[in-house]
């Protein structure tokens, strides 16, 4: 196995594979900066180019591109409040307020370094999981996956105010998100729900226009209202020091970064959960880790831990995603489903062969994740100072270009004018929510998890009736879910006991 591990490294370092990885990284960098055109879409566009490549070259090209897109997606999230990748909205919640506070450099440094640490942990997890993955994945059936999704929903407690009204608003928004996820064709029977007679809604609401609308539009409106630059009248920070601070923050909060990376790996391994879930769960965990009400209050207003958690999880999940893809041919996300197409083109069959006959190729993927992320972060750190200066440009000059990014990103979801209308409507909704104190993160969490919750619930009931509620692992997960709900209250008892409600 060790020989295969080293062979994998040499496969990536061959000049052709390495050059292709650099080309892929360049593409991934650009794609990551553009909202909406996520790594999955680019993978699909690039698949035809791998026909003439050998497997290590093809995977160096594709994975180099995909892993970098996940990293650079955080840059637009922090600088403009526009999720670089549709699902990477969790970084916006604290990253953009940091930019508004004149700490763009620090936020970017933290995002990139935590991404690197997350990617390394993901790659290590992938390398270690290869021999033991089978029993782990097979332990989790639909009931367990349903409960895992419910644990994600339970994170709403942490994302909402800890008084009675705060919790009501948070859970109401979470439920609204779940309700929005039911729009379109019901998967089991094919019946249409809440489609309003519009064919556009048959497929349900696409996440990208909704997320971009809910998060980017309100921030752009606020920027226009302030009439200043993103960082306002704050004195220009020492950007060099800011980036270094962000890097140091990653190691100051290393245990948090490690835990959030573990969340990312775990969610990645579970088929179907996707990157948005990993990011939001990591964000909620970062909020839970706050020491007391005062400390917790800083989240959403520019706390670096709110950047570190999602940044780490976003990249560590790439390693996790690859585990079921390689071991079983069960893609962990949309991007992995496309990568699976790459396997087929290369004549590789995911499964036992990848863990024995083609083990060196499998390990070359691990090395690609490691090397691509290291190069990206090192190169990005060199230009971060310049990037952070964007936050000091007059808002009036930034707004039209960011709006353009927002709308192009939304439009790419379905290539339909209605995507823009959805973005506009959710932009108005997001603006009113912030204005009147209704939290946006629970809405997004509900929307991201809604389809998973319903699907797994349906399969569980259809397969086991209600007997699944007695499965030992389900019971453990129910207890864990209750802990997730109750823990913030126990920790903050004085705050909510005397909260004025």
């Amino acid at each position: 196995m060790f020989d295969a591990f080293i062979d994998g490294l040499f496969l990536v370092l061959q000049w052709k594979a390495f050059s292709l990885m650099l080309v892929g990284m360049g593409l991934g960098f650009c794609v990551g900066l553009l909202p909406g055109i996520g790594g999955a879409a680019t993978l699909a566009l690039m698949i035809p180019f791998v026909f003439t490549m050998s497997p290590p070259e093809a995977f160096a090209f594709l994975l180099g591109m995909h892993s970098v897109a996940a990293t650079t997606g955080d840059i637009t999230s922090i600088l403009f409040g526009v999720p670089g990748e549709g699902l990477s909205a969790a970084t916006v919640v604290d990253g953009y307020p940091m930019a508004k506070n004149g700490e763009a450099g620090r936020a970017l440094g933290a995002a990139l370094m935590s991404s690197l640490v997350g990617a390394l942990i993901g790659a290590i997890a992938l390398a270690l999981a290869i021999p033991i993955v089978r029993p782990l994945v097979l332990t989790f059936g639909s009931p367990e996956l349903f409960l895992l999704s419910m644990i994600g929903i339970a994170c709403i407690t942490s994302l909402s105010g800890l008084n009675l009204r705060g919790q009501i608003r948070g859970f109401a928004m979470g439920l609204l998100g779940l309700l929005l996820s039911t729009i379109g064709q019901e998967r089991q029977s094919g019946s249409l729900r809440f489609d309003m007679g519009m064919m556009y809604l048959w497929e349900g609401l696409d996440l990208v226009p909704v997320l971009v609308g809910v998060f980017a539009i309100p921030e752009l409106v606020d920027l226009a209202v302030r009439g200043t630059s993103i960082a306002g009248e704050r004195p220009a920070e020492n950007l060099n020091r800011g980036v270094m601070e962000g890097i140091k923050d990653t190691f100051r909060h290393f245990w948090l970064v490690f835990r959030c990376s573990a969340v990312g790996v775990f969610v990645g391994i579970m088929p179907g959960a996707g990157g948005g879930v990993a990011q939001w769960m990591a964000y909620a965990h970062a909020v839970q880790s706050a020491k007391g009400a005062k400390d917790r209050e800083r989240f959403g207003k520019g706390d670096v831990r709110g950047v570190l958690g999602p940044g780490a999880a976003n990249n560590s999940k790439e390693g996790g995603d690859l585990v079921p893809t390689i071991a079983f041919g069960v893609p962990g996300s949309g991007a992995m489903a496309i990568l699976l197409g790459g396997f087929m083109i290369m004549g590789l069959v995911p499964g036992p062969d990848m863990l024995s006959k083609h083990l060196a190729v499998t390990y070359s993927m691990v090395w690609t994740l490691v090397i691509a992320n290291i190069i990206t972060v090192v190169l990005s750190l060199a230009v971060l100072n310049q990037l952070a200066k964007v936050t000091y440009i007059r808002g009036g000059l930034i707004i039209p270009f960011v709006l353009l990014l927002v709308f192009v990103g939304s439009y790419t979801a379905n290539g339909h004018l209605a995507d823009l209308v959805v973005t506009f409507c959710f932009g108005v909704l997001g603006y009113l929510m912030v204005l009147w104190g209704w939290p946006r993160p629970p809405l997004v969490l509900g929307l991201v998890l809604g389809k998973l919750v319903e699907t797994y619930l349906f399969i569980s009931v259809a397969r086991y009736g209600f007997a699944w509620l007695g499965h030992p692992l389900v019971v453990v997960l129910i207890v864990l879910m209750l802990v997730v709900i109750i823990y913030p209250f126990v920790r903050e008892k004085p705050a909510w006991a005397g909260g004025g409600d």
Binding site: C30, I37, V93, S160, G161, L162, N163, R165, G166, I168, G170, L175, L176, L179, T182, E186, S189, S191, R193, P218, E219, V221, A224, V225, R226, A293, K294, E297, F299, G300, K301, G306, R394, G396, L397, I399, P400, F401, L403, L404, F407, V408, Y411, T412, G415, L417, L420, G427, Y431, L432, M433, V434, W436, G437, P441, V453, F458, G498, G499, G500
Partner: protein, 159 residues
């Protein structure tokens, strides 16, 4: 005004939840179960919030919610005007996409916004518009081959 707004928002959510309950209750069990399971507690929670907004004591402590806050450094009148202006630009963008299609809207939007909203000089406006359009064309139309729907004018002219 803020309290009024919160009440209106509650009413809006009550309407959504009520509509969802009403619709889902008429569907088959398999189709309607999940939406009902979500919409009923949503309705209850929003009604509670509505009650608090109408009859509850003012919220002393909002609690440490994870959410951004808008600036309060601008006079409300000016802020309201600017909000309407930005949303008008956004709505205008969508309207232009409908009328002349996405590719033509991009340079028009950048040009008009920079010239008339941001009050940038003619030369920088032209240069910025040209560069933006060039990047847009090269990246999305030539490289990625994104398909953009034609506007009604192009359809009308048969282009």
């Amino acid at each position: 005004m803020k309290t009024k707004g919160r009440i209106y928002f509650c009413v809006f959510l009550i309407c959504i939840a009520g509509f969802a309950v009403f619709s889902a209750s008429r569907w088959s069990f398999k189709t309607g179960f999940f939406p009902l399971a979500v919409a009923i507690p949503l309705l209850v929670l929003v009604l509670c919030q509505f009650y608090f907004e109408l009859f509850g004591a003012p919220e002393v402590s909002k609690g440490p919610a994870v959410e951004a806050e808008f600036t309060d450094e601008v006079a409300p009148e000016i802020a309201r005007r600017r909000v309407i202006t930005v949303f008008s630009w956004i709505a205008g963008f969508i309207f232009f996409v409908y009328v002349v299609g996405f590719p033509l809207t991009v340079p028009l939007f950048i040009f008009f916004y920079l010239k008339f909203q941001s009050e940038v000089g003619w030369l920088p406006t032209f240069v910025a518009t040209a560069i933006t359009w060039g990047c847009f064309y090269a990246l999305f139309q030539r490289l990625v081959h994104l398909q953009f729907e034609p506007g009604v004018i192009q359809i009308w002219l048969g282009l």
